[in-house]
Structures are given as structure tokens and as C-alpha cells.
Subunit: 350 residues, 4 copies
Amino acid sequence: MAGNTFGQVFRVTTWGESHGPGVGAVVDGCPPRLPLNPALIEAELARRRPGVQAHASPRREEDRVEILSGVFEGLTTGTPISLLIRNRDVKSEDYEALREVFRPGHGDFTYQAKYGLRDHRGGGRAAARETAARVAAGAVAKQLLDQENIQVLAYTLELGGVRAQTRDEARLWDNPFYCPDPGAVPDMISRVEEVKARGDSLGGLVEARVRGCPPGLGEPVFDKLDAALAAAVMSIGAVKGVEIGAGFAAARMLGSEHNDPLIPGGFASNNAGGILAGISNGDEIVLRAAVKPIPSIAREQQTVDLAGRPRTIAVRGRHDISAIPRIVPVILAMVRLTIADFLLRQRANQ
Amino acid sequence: MAGNTFGQVFRVTTWGESHGPGVGAVVDGCPPRLPLNPALIEAELARRRPGVQAHASPRREEDRVEILSGVFEGLTTGTPISLLIRNRDVKSEDYEALREVFRPGHGDFTYQAKYGLRDHRGGGRAAARETAARVAAGAVAKQLLDQENIQVLAYTLELGGVRAQTRDEARLWDNPFYCPDPGAVPDMISRVEEVKARGDSLGGLVEARVRGCPPGLGEPVFDKLDAALAAAVMSIGAVKGVEIGAGFAAARMLGSEHNDPLIPGGFASNNAGGILAGISNGDEIVLRAAVKPIPSIAREQQTVDLAGRPRTIAVRGRHDISAIPRIVPVILAMVRLTIADFLLRQRANQ
Amino acid sequence: MAGNTFGQVFRVTTWGESHGPGVGAVVDGCPPRLPLNPALIEAELARRRPGVQAHASPRREEDRVEILSGVFEGLTTGTPISLLIRNRDVKSEDYEALREVFRPGHGDFTYQAKYGLRDHRGGGRAAARETAARVAAGAVAKQLLDQENIQVLAYTLELGGVRAQTRDEARLWDNPFYCPDPGAVPDMISRVEEVKARGDSLGGLVEARVRGCPPGLGEPVFDKLDAALAAAVMSIGAVKGVEIGAGFAAARMLGSEHNDPLIPGGFASNNAGGILAGISNGDEIVLRAAVKPIPSIAREQQTVDLAGRPRTIAVRGRHDISAIPRIVPVILAMVRLTIADFLLRQRANQ
Amino acid sequence: MAGNTFGQVFRVTTWGESHGPGVGAVVDGCPPRLPLNPALIEAELARRRPGVQAHASPRREEDRVEILSGVFEGLTTGTPISLLIRNRDVKSEDYEALREVFRPGHGDFTYQAKYGLRDHRGGGRAAARETAARVAAGAVAKQLLDQENIQVLAYTLELGGVRAQTRDEARLWDNPFYCPDPGAVPDMISRVEEVKARGDSLGGLVEARVRGCPPGLGEPVFDKLDAALAAAVMSIGAVKGVEIGAGFAAARMLGSEHNDPLIPGGFASNNAGGILAGISNGDEIVLRAAVKPIPSIAREQQTVDLAGRPRTIAVRGRHDISAIPRIVPVILAMVRLTIADFLLRQRANQ
């Protein structure tokens, strides 16, 4: 069965290709009586479209959202919320050369293998454009989390090897890299410029945090909260690794170092990243995602065509140098969707 | 809704606590006409019970499995396969002291927070004992994968900082650490002895590989194969991070380094770890999991009791020094279950 | 969890209210490479909109469908198919009087009880308008069934007590009641005129048949094919009963009468209605649905308002006298969706 | 995907064949802190085993249930509840003659068609024995419903054409037919004796009622409460039709007759059967099921064998004359499971 639905109770189904009429999401299971209007959603979408920045793709997406159902007189009704974001500024002719050639690092080869045909224009369903629907749905989840005073953050921890040294969350959205360390931004800019000049691309790390999450969320043994968060974040195209709390560093720690002592009212440390035995423990949830470099690069690469013959390719068109920072609001959305879903799942358990 | 079911088509529901009558699994959706008998399952279970080794828990589990349904005259019938593994050698009195105290690093606190009560004996449902049911179900999945010539491997890559330098897969199961580098075993033993003497515990890394996986498995956009594998492996208690292919290292690579060039018949490298855009590409699937040190340690730790009052605790009883190597067959089982499920899901798509 | 998704593999999520911007469906899990264009869908929708007939609601719905995704160069791609049908000709002011009064026989009271608010305009999500999305999705299923030579029929068996005596399937869509007995149509017209004059409404029976269904579809023990068909059809607003094969008549038959003898190549009779032990047996599947009279009647009725105070109501507006014949293509769609889903589910089992 | 799981939140997976080691159920999603012990379950199972009656199958099932997990110190823990009922008194040799012959009216032919093999002993998974697991799970649901003061009833409305004329619910379980009209029992006995002498079998009608169900349960548009109840009851082997409230009679009623006027505090009538637009309205839920005659009859019948050759068969062995009354506690269980699930689903919506 196909996999375009996320969540069990707060359930989102997305659809849409990068060069079709649009992308969208149907949110089913959103509780009734929450305030919702297009502006709340478009504010989140705007962060996914950093067109004002020098370092982002020049493609300008006018991300207007139309709420087609599920909202009446400004409030959710408990019925499915259908969100439509029209695609604009799509130039399909740019992609005609890709009809018969597979781009390395992209889903071209695997979509062809799986479905026996593919929409080759800009990656179709595998394009980053798909994540606009996630961000729109995540904005709905935000309304629910706000009501429960649960706050979710996401930011760039590292870009092309340049790492944030401080975390000034108040200035997160002020800089073009969504980086909590304004001091690291100049180095990030230099790194991007350098790599851009070589026709290459960069990866990095994104960190997400959940504050105010009540203890008790997570469904052992398979739908543990950390397992669900890992799947949520790993389902984003460019992510190749996910870790919770101490994460991979835990592999070299001793038990006496890693265990978080319990103290009255909480925990003395947070190596667990806010999740114990797959259930939130009330502490801050901390998650990091490894983001691979964008596969569309200007440098010539070796590949094959539909008939399996060797070809070379240099990807042209409007491409970012890194999935960062545009992936930051996507990771934010996926974490919000996960927490919203488990919040409602826990209500069902009681 | 509770989370004790794994998979969509090849679907496994597990149950059982460490100190109750037993643990088990119901496998629904296994295709008919596969050979299955208890010995095939018990062979896998034996690897989870390294009682012959000096370094493992002295608790001896006589893991006999009873097939209660779904098999007729030695073949699966397409109806649910119910597997029962009785618990033996359980000494609940050992745990009476834990009724009112939360062990650091365990699920004691979160189970209490979630359910309002808990079976405190040995961790109950959160105990490692639960994974015996996963291994039993994974042995059923193995029968299906064998039929398709899909081979899954898992082994210890690193234990307590001691890393395997070679990968001699033929000798994997010969040594007590399920390590593919026999030369690393003496160092692993030394490391374990050293830490054991200090009343502490160790973590490590486990790697899994899938060979012969056909291209086309994985269900974009949310049930991508890598997302599903991440959830599958992260759902195991001790796992705090998962990466695919180049994984976290990808964050510092350039696009030109990370992209795997396509060549006639396959790929020139495998940074993708066998998965592109969430769909298997026919190359070897490679996954690594970070395993935290076992939280049950003999050293005294700070904690609180049910009433929130400060307490100290030194966990007694029969405990391993590391989840490795016993977690290796569990990770193997979870990967098998995931691949089996997506294999059948892909059949439904066509 | 909310219930706007139908099916497991061929999976449809619908959304939309009668007086919002539109209704729609997302079809996920449709196999790739099927031909699909708006005209194929609009042909089915046209049967749901018998505006050319004297006896149907004068509201004219211009049911144009926009395929927003999942189709590339005329073929399905295996990705979600998003269908949008804009609402037109909606006069919300007609309904202002209903904001505070519950219409008897409608979902007004229960939607208010469930969600704590409701879109009172024309029934919102509970309106018949919702079924346009089902019909559109059913038209997609038809493409799959056509490929497998599975034919689904539905027709009016009885309207207001006037029963079809013959079954001339070739003339089904020729008459305004979708009745296979053209001879019964004049009596149906008389019955409708008579009841309309009294400001009242009528119910009836619809029968559906599936031909060419291979044996083996249906998933014991809970997702038996008859159980799924019963749910599919009962999920349509006006349906109050469903029976398969001999149905309720079976309650008074002897085993020797009811059992269908097996003969080489099939069965000597079909009291089972094509389903044995929840699995299709290769014979024709036969199902009947009881359709209640439309609750919107011009005659004055007793009711209460939001505050629980007694009120009277006479429903005005553009209403049909019976859900028949417009429900016929809806039942057709639901049976198609069910068979398509189980066809793909069976592929996954093998 | 296979269909042995029922429910979304209160979720039951059953397994087991009539002549294997046993049958059982795993209940996942039962809220914690409910009292549960084997005696509560066995009391329900006893009603499914009317061995004390002259008119029931002489096979004696010693239905002892073992709770293998999910209960600690007498209370549910929120973890999966595994229930095991061993089969006893099974004589597989009785069935050897059926290995190659299909019994008319049974699942023999369709199981063979679906799975390519079958456990021919007593029907395997298609046997009535399977329903013991449903009744056991339903007994768990009863604990939840009791806590909410929701009462579910089921009884024989008609057997072999003999209909109950009164409904003395207090005496339901006193008579061998679970009939609320003690006066009808002698006629039922006569009817049974008469048909038994002819080597034939009988069908009938069962009615179920739910009292105290809060308004608001049911998930439009596909998981309406009536749709779910229809599937739940139709998933029982012998059921061929289901109706809610006025049911099939509604097809011949006028809107003015069928609509239930709202009055302060409720409804003036209950043609809706307690469900409006798929959502409970707070009134009594009323449902009727048509039960076909048992297909196993002593009279000789025409059939075919595995090779498709004509054969005759006269089914021997220990068989009831009717699925009634043993089906009554099964229908009771399925209604309980449905209401329990929707009760928890509604909690998740809020």
C-alpha cells in the first residue's frame, strides 16, 4: 500500500508533483474548534521559501494556500481540512532533457524502477516541492500544540562543516540560514560561496527541540515516540540519519555517564533527549538530523539513460546549494505533526 | 491507539512482559505455503540467548516456541501465525525493591506516567525480554525472504569504543560478540572486563545489510524505506540513533562526493546505502544503529520514588554489561520484518 | 480517529462540505499506468446529477473535476491522485434559519453533539454533496476493474413500494430512475408525484452486482468481503440495511434450500450472493441496500433548537423526493472501491 | 493485507483454527486500570457453549482462558492483553474424508481458491470455533463499557420462522435459545426437532441493543457507527444481512413516518435505531442480523472435489441445527467491541 498518509489520529495525506497544478494536504482528525485561516499557514510556508536570500534558489513560489474544507467561520469543524497550494512559475521545458536520463542522487532511477514510468519534470513527487504540503499541514498541527502550550523549535546546527557555537533562539529566523548562532553566519556564507563557485553542493545538521511536551506520549513497543520521530524526519528526502538526545555519542559512553539521574521534579541531565523507553519523560525532546548535500550539481557527473547506456549529465536549472535552510521548517513541521498525533493518541488511551 | 503492531501487510503484533507467563507474537499476512516449524524459529532465538558466553547475563531462558496456529502440515496457511514463548526462570521477588523506585535510564518513570500503574518486575513490557517475540516473528519473515533470495545480515561494528576493522562475515556467529572482525574480539573482552569490574556498562554500534533486495521497495512520501527502517530499528529499546549509507558523515560531504554515479547495471559507489528517494535501488542496503549503554548498573545512582522523594539505587540482579551482542539478532529481525513487509506492499501496488 | 479514509491498499480520502468551496478525493494506492482523464470521471458524476429529470432536485451542479496530481501524460503514475470538484450554485442564505434548529432525520443534532459546532449550511459534511467525491474516486477504481474485466452494476430495485419485475440491464441508464424494468417507471413516476404533492418523501431498494470477480477476494476473519461491502454501502447516508445473496430471506430457509451445490465449473445456485466464508467464490456478487426516505420534507415537523426548546420546522429549499436514483451511482462507486481494494489486497497476500 | 484485526483504538487481533492447539486474541489499546480476570471472560464464553442443552452440538469445549499478558495484580496495564483458549476434544480423524471434497455452503472452496491450501479439519479458521476468541475479547470490552455504564444486549428474535412476540430481557439467558419471549420457546423446540429429524438446519434473526451510549460516537464519512456495526456483525460467518433501526422496512416508509421528531431530552420515536448521519444520537441503538441456516447437514448434497469432479456429501460429525443461539454471544461481543472502539476513538477527537 502506498505511503502518502502520516499519523494515526492527527492524520495527514499529501499529494502533488513539482510541475503539476499544485500540491496539497488533507488533514483528517484535527480536533474541532481550533482557529485556522490561510494567513497562519502562509506564515509557515514563507519560511520554506527564502527567496529574499542571495543563497537560495531563484525560483519564486507564490505560496498561497486555499482552505477548501473543514473550517467554518474561522474554526476547525472536526471534518477533513483540505489545503491547496497552486504551483506557479513552473518551466517544464527545462526538464525535457531529463526524460531519458537519470540524475545521480535523485529518485529518477528508483521511481522508474518502482512505477514503470515517472513524471521527470523536476523530480515530480520526489521533488522538494512536495514538502510545502507538509509545512502547510504542520501549521495546522501548530494550532493544536499552541493550545497545549507545546513549543517546537528547529534550526541549523551545522552547514558545510561550519557549526553553530551558541544557541540564541530569539534570532533564529533573523538570518538566512535559520542558525541560532549569528556569529557563524559569515562563515556559512563564505562556505556556500566557495562551493557554489565550484558547481558543488553542501550538507549539514539540523536540530529540533520540543518544549512543554507532557510525559506519557509514545506508544510502545513499535510506535515509540523516538521511533516515530525518526521515521517522520527520515521521510524527508535529504535526511540520511537521525539521533535522539546523546544519539551516536551514546555508543561510546558508560552507563554511569549516560543515565540521567532522576531528581524531584525532573532529571539532572538529558542524555535521553526527553524520551525513555519510547515515552516522553517531560524533559525537552532533542533530535538531530543529518542532511546530505543536494544532488543537483552543475559539475558533470556519470550516469545512465533509460536504456542503461552510459551518459554524462550536468544538472542545470534553479537549484539551491544546500537543502539547508529550507529543510528547517520542514523538519519543524514533521516534528509538530508527530507530537500532535501522539498527543491525540494518548487521549484515546485513557 | 496503542503501538504493538508492526507492518502493514506482513503484520506482527507482539505481547508479553518479562515476568508474566510468556511473550509472543501474532504474524498476520504471511503468504501461504511457506515451510515453518518451531526449530527454524528457535535457531534464531538461540542467538538472542548467548548464555554459553562468559559476558552475558547468567539468566537462562529456555526459549522454546509453540506455533499455536497458521501452520498446517508444515506449511503456512495464510491465516494468522500465533507464536508462544513461555517465560522460565523468572524470580519476581528480586524486583520487589523496585516497586516504588524508578531506575534511571529505564522506562519505570515513563510507564508510570503514561499508564498510572506498571508491572515493576524486571521492566515488564519495557524489558529486553519483549524482543524475543520480535526475533520469533523475524524468523517467519526470514522464510519469506529466503524464498526471494534476499539475505539480511547484522553484526557488531563497535563495542565500548573497540571497532571492527575487517568484515569477515563467515565468522560472524562464531564469536561471543557477533563481530565480523575476530581480531577485535580480545580487545572487546578486555573492555567488557574492565567496565564490569567498575560496575558500569557499555554501548556500541551495530550494522545491518540487506543483499538481493530488488529495486522498487519503499512507499513515498512518508513510508519511505529508510524512514521505515529507521523506525523499525529505533523502536528497539537501547537504540538512540540510526543512519543509512553515509549517514551522519554525509553532512560534511560535497554533492560531488556523495552522489553515487550510475553505471550500466548499477552504481559506482553506495553512499546512498541502497535507498534513493526512499525506494530501494537494488544496491546493498546499509544501516547503522547507535546502542546506548545498558542502564542497569551496579554503581549507586541518584533517583526518586513514586512520591517524588530523593532515593539512591544500585541495580542488582542478572544483567548484561551491554545490549550488544544480544541486540544484534533483534536488529536483524526488525530489518527482516521491514523488508518482508515492503516486499508484499510492492506486490499490492502493481 | 476520524473516518474519512476508505480502503487499505486502494485508499480514498474524501473531504468537503456542501456549501464550502468544493469537495474532493485523494486516491492513494492506485496502480501506475492506468489511463485517466477528467472526462472518464465526469461521465460517472453526470449520473449523480440527474438535473435533466423532472423528479430530481432543481439545484444544478456543474460537476467539473480537476485532476491535480498523480496523472502524467494521461496515465496514472502510482502517486496520489487528487481530485477537485468545485461547488457551484450554492445559496448559503437559504440555510440561515437552520443555524439554531435541528432538522429531524438529519445529522444536525449529532454533528453538534460530536463536534460542539457545525456547518449548518445544507448539512455541511453530512450532505449528499459529499458523495460526489465518492463517485469521482469510484471512477478511478473503474479504470482498474475494467483492466481486470470486472464489471459492477447498480440499479433501482424498488422505489416507494413499486418494484422492478424484470431486469433489462441494457436499459438501466435510459430512464430517470435507473430502473432495469422500464415497465415499472410509469408507476414510479405516479408514486413520486403523489407523495411530492403531500410534501413527503420516499425510500426504496437498490441492488448491486459484481461480475467477473475472481474467487479469492476477501480477508477473513474481520475484513470478509461481505463485511467490507456492508460497511461500504452502509456508510452512505440514507442506507439503513444491507443484505448479501438471499440476505434476510435466508433466516427462514432450510440448510438444504440455502446451500448452493457445487458443480463442475461453479455453483448450481447463488443464495450465497457470490461470497462464502467472507471470500468471493467466482459467482456473481449480489447485494441489496435499503434506502430510507429523504428526511427533508415540506411538511411541518416537531423538533428542538440548540437550547433544547421545542420548535417546528418545514424544510424548504431544493430537495429530492427520494435519495433514489441519485444514490445508485454512489452505491456503484462504493462497490467498485471495495472490489478494487480487495483485488489489490489479494495481490499482497501472494 | 490480511484481516484478522478488528478496531482502530480498542484493537483485537484473533488467531486460531478449530483443530489446532487453540484459539486466542490479543487486545491492544485497552485502557489501563480496568479489573480483569479469567472468570470474567469465562462467564461470557460459557454462553457460547450451550452444551447443557439438548439442541446444541454435543462437542464439549472446556473453554478455559489463560491471560498471558497485560494484566498485573488484577488490573489491565495498558499493554497488550493476550488471551489463550486451548482446544480440547478435537477429533481430527472425523474430517479426513473432507480433505478432498468441498462442503456446500462452507468456506472450503474459497479458502482453497484464496490460499492454495487449507486446513480441512472442521473448517480450520473458517469454523465457528474462531468466534470463541471474539467472545473472549468482547468480555474485555465489557469491562470498559461497564465503567461507562453502557449496556449491550443481544437475543434471538426469530428461529426457523418462530418469532419472539415479547421482550422479557430479564429472562434472556434462562432459556436454551436466548429468547426474550419464553412463550415462543416451546414452538422453537418443536421446529428444531422437526428439522433435525429431516437432517436439515435452520436460520433466524438476532437483535442487539445498546443502552447508555453517549451521543457523538461514529466517524463520518466512512467509519460511521452504523457502517462499523454492519461490518462487525457481517464479519460473523453465518450472517447474511444487517439492518439498523427501521432497517429494510424504511424502504417503504414515508419521510414523515420515518423521521424521528426531536423533543426536549431526546427523540419521540426511534426509527433511526439510535444513529443519525453515522453518529450515535443518545437513543438506544438497535440492530438486527439475518442468520443463515447452518450449512453442515446430514442430507446428501451435490458437490465437487479438489479436481473439480462431481461428488456427493452428507456431512457427519457433531453439528448444531442452527447457529442460533450460539451466535447470540458472538454478536453481543462484536457490538461491544465496536462500541468500545468508537468510545475511545471519540476521546482521541477531542
